[in-house]
């Protein structure tokens, strides 16, 4: 599969409209905020879910992130885009949660969609050339999530935001409040580690 298309700021839905929604929400307009929630719920949920590998935790954390963002809207100065700011809240909340949870991890994985079984790249990974060819997609999913949980939170976050969510290095740097070089080095190190954890399931191209 090709690298996920990196989401650029220009791809964000109608920035002017978003500014207006944020302005209305700051004045306490719950309908405007409801629209913002609808707009970003999938991205926020997905990020938190891929960080925790647990649907219930992701549900709670995503909801709490939106609630906290609403409560803190007055402090939002507009220095970054709303969704970068929202991402930052969700990410900090998730990292704090994971630090408190420490090693008490419990997988509660979502089901794979129908398209997974028809993805040629994924099918190639479980073809007869794969060392663990008996591994089905579900097993592969489990092993992948377990390997992800072995990474430290900052390294896992970079992999999730870049390789899964498709965010650019620049956007990740803004969300994580670090420079692009740090993002790149973390991504390289995290991939190396993942490759080691999943060597049985990876075949050379």
């Amino acid at each position: 599969m090709a690298e996920p298309a990196e989401r650029q700021d220009t791809e964000s839905p109608a920035p002017v409209m978003e500014d207006e929604l944020v302005r209305q929400a700051r004045r306490g307009d719950l309908r405007a905020y409801d629209e913002l929630v609808r707009r970003y719920q999938e991205r926020i949920y997905a990020t938190v879910y891929h960080m925790t590998s647990n649907h219930e935790d992701a549900n709670d954390l995503a909801q709490e992130s939106f609630i906290k963002a609403f409560q803190a809207l007055k402090s939002f100065k507009g220095g970054s885009s709303f969704y970068t700011w929202l991402y930052r809240i969700a990410v900090n909340k998730t990292i704090n949660f994971l630090k408190q949870r420490k090693n008490r991890t419990h997988l509660s994985l979502n089901d794979l969609d129908f398209n997974a079984e028809h993805d040629p790249d994924l099918m190639a990974l479980i073809s007869d050339k794969t060392p663990r060819r008996e591994a089905g997609l579900t097993e592969l999913q489990e092993k992948l999530n377990e390997a992800m949980l072995k990474l430290s939170e900052p390294h896992r976050l970079v992999v999730v935001l870049h390789d899964v969510e498709g965010l650019s290095h620049d956007e990740i740097a803004k969300i994580m409040d670090c420079n692009i070089g740090t993002v790149r080095s973390r991504l390289f190190y995290a991939r190396q580690q993942l490759q080691g954890f999943l060597s049985d399931y990876l075949k050379p191209t």
Partner: protein, 163 residues
């Protein structure tokens, strides 16, 4: 960096599997309403009507967050109770500004009142401290040194117990 990207091509293809993990059908239809209802509930909780309960909640949250605080709070409560018991046991501990002291009458101790016979002092003043509800049936002649027009002698007789 391109070489590195190529090295991780298989890994990135495997990571694409994560994008196929989707929450239960209809999950995102209900998500905004859940968030909005929690926001509304939070606004209600922040209103002046519920300020008292939120104060109590915060207090209880401190208990949850800091177990040491619970211990020290419990210890101070026990200490307070102990001091209260000790202080109450001392006959001279009653402050002079209390009601009994203000009427300038001697305080009758509990030890005196346990006797069925009323002490001369208590009989004079009409003030008694006793745990016995039928300690004395003598009418109270005066209250605060004045004649009590409502005080009437009452004769009470109890039937002998049949058991």
């Amino acid at each position: 960096m391109n070489e590195n990207e190529n090295n991780f091509e298989a890994l990135r293809r495997l990571l694409a599997l994560k994008r196929h993990e989707i929450p239960p059908p209809g999950y995102f239809n209900g998500f905004p309403s859940q968030v909005m209802s929690r926001i509304r509930a939070g606004e209600t909780a922040g209103s002046p009507e519920t300020a008292g309960s939120s104060w109590l909640l915060k207090f209880l949250q401190v208990f949850e967050a800091k177990p040491a605080f619970v211990g020290s709070f419990a210890c101070s409560l026990c200490l307070l109770l102990l001091v209260g018991i000790i202080y109450a046991g001392r006959p001279d501990a009653m402050p002079k500004s209390t009601f009994l002291a203000s009427v300038t009458q001697p305080v009758v101790s509990l030890a005196d009142a346990t006797s069925p016979e009323p002490s001369p002092t208590s009989a004079q003043t009409g003030l008694m401290v006793s745990t016995n509800p039928v300690l004395s049936l003598e009418p109270v002649a005066s209250l605060f040194g004045q004649e009590n027009p409502l005080a009437q002698p009452v004769n009470v007789s109890f039937p002998p117990s049949g058991n």
